[in-house]
């Protein structure tokens, strides 16, 4: 333990609007030694990204540093000139953004944009920098490192791009790297490779790092110390193992608990009972490229079928086919004993009413120009003919049932709600139809851990009260474990495994299910090491 590389004292950041400033960060103290990784954990809006950027002496537009000192290697960034700060960014302090796909310039080759900063520093020639970059590519286990840099960003996959961005950050040999949710946009299986690569490279280069994530289990793999943020303040800071063993604060424990959430198990379904929905040999394609191949599954009333798979496995397409937003090429759908037509245009209103879809992103699922009350009221009028006071009363009941105060929220526009509230409105809109089957397409993936847990709780309660069937589409096996009764695992458009939760999520696994299962981060700091050792041993 020598002198801290980065030391922040009493940092406060607020909005720079003159009227009524809001503090985004309040009195943050932080110390970071060389060669260590600090994990920043918190929900969205907790200020973790703002803190990450502040370590470079940078604030987003509309924010300013109100108080405190950010001392990086002996220089106080809050007192240095903009020129001094700029000369440090990218060179001595690097930043890896959440979405590499959005952060790279799509019109330039990877090499050209990756070596820019290092060249600007002027210590090394172009050839030396390029060689350094190729070496980093191979250390990050990118395929064909010599040729990769000549490609454009859209030529490589998301996971590769995220690693290429890490390489770009490492080229100038910075003293500190900030990773802001570097794997959030990636699949669980890809995430493992990226995490392992990042950790190995950091360990071998004695760089310090700040790892920002909302996922505690991830941070536990990466960080030596963890700092939990909430509402711009430090809730708790401790060494990783210590914090995992004995979290001190109630809030930290609630983050832990969200990981452990389990819905009450339901009795096994009687095999004799006819399924509510039966899909048989469904084939579907986009522009002649097949997306679903012979998908067969059944959903029973009052039970939850979870469809799991990586992105691109066809799960969302399956949701669209069942909801009627897209017609299948071949195959048969049967709902409540009747045959169900492919496209929504050929379905009866009663059928449309009984199957409701809750889309992945609540931001786009609600019409921004429609008030909450109208969004929920519309299905009431359309399907049940409720108007005027009757419709108003039912709408308010639904809002109240979803724990949204009707007086406060009925007249709001979606833009005036948080992500979790919007998702509740979407659920209320689906329930207004009084459906038998609700298709939930990644309903919690855009939400914070605790909000997601609340939403799952809510969905479980509604299922018990109304005997709803859920078709729950997710990539997150934690959620599957939490709420599924039955599970179907999808890979490349096929259902590779299906059965009850206990059958599918217990040995003997098929290889793909095992890969998915083993890729879900666990709250054990040794999990990643163990997993990598097992996988290397296995091959």
């Amino acid at each position: 333990m020598g002198e801290a590389l980065l030391s922040i004292r009493g940092l406060s950041i607020c909005t720079s609007v003159s009227a009524g400033t809001t503090e985004i960060l309040r009195g943050i103290d932080l110390d970071l030694q060389r060669g260590t990784i600090l994990g920043l954990v918190g929900e969205s809006g907790s200020g973790k990204s703002t803190l990450g950027l502040a370590t470079m002496g940078y604030t987003r537009e509309g924010l300013r540093i109100a108080a405190g000192a950010i001392v990086f290697d002996g220089v106080d960034l809050t007192r240095s000139s903009e020129h001094q700060r700029r000369s440090m960014r990218g060179v001595r302090i690097a930043y890896v953004a959440q979405s590499a796909a959005a952060a790279f310039n799509p019109a330039r080759r990877l090499f050209d944009q990756s070596i820019e900063v290092a060249l600007g520093r002027g210590r090394q020639g172009r050839r030396a920098v390029t060689e350094g970059l190729i070496e980093l590519y191979s250390r990050l286990q990118l395929p064909n490192p010599g040729a990769l840099g000549r490609r454009y960003p859209h030529h490589v996959s998301g996971g590769q791009l995220q690693r290429a961005m890490t390489a770009m950050a490492l080229v100038p040999e910075p003293d500190l790297i900030i990773f802001d949710e570097p794997t959030t946009a990636l699949d669980v299986t890809t995430q493992i490779d990226v995490l392992a690569a990042i950790r190995d490279v950091i360990a071998s280069s004695r760089t310090a790092a700040i790892f920002i994530s909302h996922d505690l289990a991830l941070v536990a793999q990466m960080a030596d110390r963890i700092m939990v943020l909430r509402h711009g303040q430090v809730v708790e800071e401790a060494a990783t193992r210590e914090m995992l063993r004995a979290p001190r604060e109630a809030y930290t424990r609630s983050l832990w608990a969200a990981h452990e959430f389990r819905a009450a198990p339901k009795p096994m379904c009687q095999e004799a009972a006819a399924p509510l929905l039966r899909a048989k040999d469904i084939n579907a394609s986009y522009a002649r490229s097949p997306v679903l191949r012979e998908v067969t599954l059944e959903v029973h009333a009052g039970r939850t079928l979870a469809v799991v798979g990586e992105s691109g496995s066809g799960k969302s397409t399956l949701a669209k086919v069942i909801a009627g937003a897209m017609a299948a090429d071949t195959g048969a759908l049967e709902f409540a004993g009747e045959s169900l037509a492919g496209g929504y245009r050929r379905r009866s209103r009663a059928q449309l009413c009984r199957i409701q879809l809750i889309a992945q992103s609540p931001d786009t699922a609600l019409n921004p120009r429609q008030r909450v009350g109208d969004a929920i009221g519309r299905p009431l009028t359309l399907y049940h003919g409720l108007r005027g006071a009757a419709r108003q009363r039912r709408m308010r009941e639904l809002l109240a049932e979803l724990e949204l105060d009707p007086d406060r929220y009925a007249d709001r526009f979606p833009g005036e709600l948080s992500g979790g509230q919007k998702q509740r409105v979407c659920i209320a809109r689906a329930l207004a139809a009084e459906p038998s089957l609700v298709i939930c397409d990644e309903v919690t993936s855009g939400l914070d851990t605790i909000v997601a847990q609340d939403t799952l709780n809510l969905l479980s309660r509604l299922q018990r009260e109304r005997n709803l069937a859920y078709l729950f589409i997710t990539h997150d096996l934690t959620i599957v474990r939490a709420i599924a009764d039955d599970v179907a695992v999808m890979q490349a458009g096929r259902v590779v495994r299906s059965g009850s939760r206990d059958q599918v999520l217990a040995p003997p696994y098929d290889p793909y299910t095992e890969l998915l299962l083993s890729s879900v981060p666990e709250m054990d700091p040794d999990w990643l090491d163990g997993l990598l050792a097992r996988r290397r041993g296995g091959h």
Binding site: A325, L357, N367, R429
Partner: protein, 275 residues
Amino acid sequence: MARTLGLFKTAPPSARFGAAVVVAYGVVAVLAPILAPYGETQVVGVEFAAWSAQHWLGTDDLGRDVLSRLLYGARNTIGIAIITTVLAAVVGGTLGLVAGTLRGWVDQVLGRLVDVLMAVPSLILTLLLLAILGTSTFSMIAIIAMIEATRIFRLARALAYAIGAVDFVTAARVRGEGLVWIIFREVLPNAGAPLIAEFGLRFCFVFLFIATLSFLGLGIQPPAADWGSMVRDNATLISYGQMSPLIPAAAIALLTLAVNLIVDWLVHQASGLRE
């Protein structure tokens, strides 16, 4: 409406200036009979009289008062331009939203039809159709509205495509909503800002186009006062160093500028850009 007025409070000076000019033109157009010292077609003096106390802007080639005709001209030119633009916006906008929402063969048929119309230069098409139908205010309005409707169709269709791909429209379709609901309740409210901006721009084009036709003698027919034909009728005065024909031209230029200033600001608002 109240919201639009409220928006103007935060408008930059350029948009306020534009709005003031448009309002002034509107007042002149409505109150022309009261403001004008003489009648629209009244012959009040000798031909091409110079500017004087009786005739502030002189008289024209038939001895009519230029100021009076300028004020009445606002009525004809702006009135016809507004009717034409509204017609174009309603027809083009509705068809565009229908085509973009329904897609499939409806979109193909309407789209190709519009392509055909857009492929012919608009002035040639107009002259051709006016020759067939005969020059009347009614046929002029119909022809210009049809041509401008193709442009609005394009924008409305593109907007309907973009908005139609968003989840809330899919949700409405799957809910079993009809076409009218989807277009007017889901798509249109979210396409409002760009369509309003386009409306303003189209108004400028229509207005200039009418003036062009009138200058060619095919637009608003004599003896009705109209700025385009006023420029033509008095054009010979230019060679004598008289600026009377430039005044209706300046009136056209100022209104076009004013509408553009408002439109710029509306587009700015719609795109969410900040300076």
